[in-house]
């Protein structure tokens, strides 16, 4: 399963949500499908995409928040799963692309390559719904169902360690940030 195919399969669903992604391949690939003003790419601060999504979800209960995380980032902030589970916002979907690798720095194996099971970690942390998917069809079905359900869900998508040839995109970090906040302000009017 390729992350790019997964992103393509749910891209239409993302239009109605607020999306927070991690840095690297996820941000570059989602932008290659077409940037939208409701997408925010956290191009550093590994681990904090899920915390940002939690802040958004708690402050904007009428919006659907989708965090697109990765194994390397989530492993840097496993405590975030316990904080998410504590407040368990039903309007938050937490997608984790697990390629068992720190791909952008040369493909060093993460702990998920040596046995750490992020679905199990999420479930044990108290996330009410945690699933692992291994095909694009299952990924699309899981994400679509989670968006429609009102239950905090973590979806681990096991993907191959393949990414784009370049990671830097034409979208400035601050341009993205101000556009994202402006988009949310326009939703409140």
């Amino acid at each position: 399963m390729l992350r790019m195919d997964c992103l393509r399969s749910v891209y239409p669903e993302l239009e109605r949500c607020l999306v927070v992604t991690i840095m690297g391949a996820v941000a570059a690939e989602l932008q290659s499908l077409g940037h939208r003003p409701n997408f925010f790419y956290l191009q550093h601060a590994m681990g904090l995409a899920s915390s940002t999504g939690l802040g958004l979800a708690l402050c904007l209960p009428a919006q659907k928040i989708i965090v697109i995380d990765g194994d390397g980032s989530l492993l840097m902030n496993l405590g975030s799963l316990s904080t998410m589970a504590r407040y368990r916002p039903g309007n938050m979907v937490h997608v984790v692309f697990d390629n068992e690798s720190l791909l952008s720095v040369g493909g060093f194996p993460t702990a998920t390559a040596t046995g750490t099971d992020l679905e199990g970690v999420a479930r044990a942390a108290g996330i009410p719904c945690a699933v692992t998917v291994r095909s694009v069809e299952d990924f699309r079905a899981a994400v679509t169902a989670a968006i429609q359900r009102s239950e905090l869900t973590t979806i681990i998508g096991k993907v191959e360690p393949r990414g784009p040839s370049v990671y830097i995109t034409g979208l400035g970090l601050l341009e993205n940030r101000f556009q994202f906040r402006g988009h949310i302000a326009s939703l409140r009017k």
Binding site: V20, F40, L42, Q43, H44, A45, G47, L48, A49, S50, S51, T52, G53, L54, G55, L56, A57, L58, C59, L60, N77, G79, S80, S82, T83, R86, Y87, L173, L174, R177, F180, R181, I184, A185, R188
Partner: protein, 170 residues
Amino acid sequence: MPVSADNSRIIYDALKACGVRLMSALPETWLVHLIRMAEEDPEMMLVRLAKEEEGVGISAGAHFAGVKSAMLMQNHGFLASINGIVSFAHLYKIPLLMLISYRGSFGERDPWQTQGGNVTEPALRALRIPYRRLNAPEQAAGRIRQAQTLAESSLQPVALLLTRDLMWEE
């Protein structure tokens, strides 16, 4: 426990008066009254963290949502948050109002707190984070209001150091 309930109330009321509606916190002795006040206040969202750096992301999400927030942490929690401050709040111009209990300074009896006290202000200066100490209750409301105003206008982290003189009664 000789944590000042009266001065905690002054700090809490000042945060409310600034429009703060979300607080992230990780419990520490000097912050117990502030956390309890947030917990008992139906107008306040209290987010209890596993580690203080999460609070940078929580506050960024709140800022994107148009909600004013504050972070309650010990100075060791500030030290544990530095990468988030630099590679999120500074990089993306996110306002943070950080209330930091200033452990390990004059009068500290807990040996384990003492090293953090030595490096708190140098770390704040190295990060170019504007900060003031809160020493006396009569300063609190004004400086909290000024800190919140500066954080919002400059879109950057601003810190207030909650000192022993303000927080501890004995």
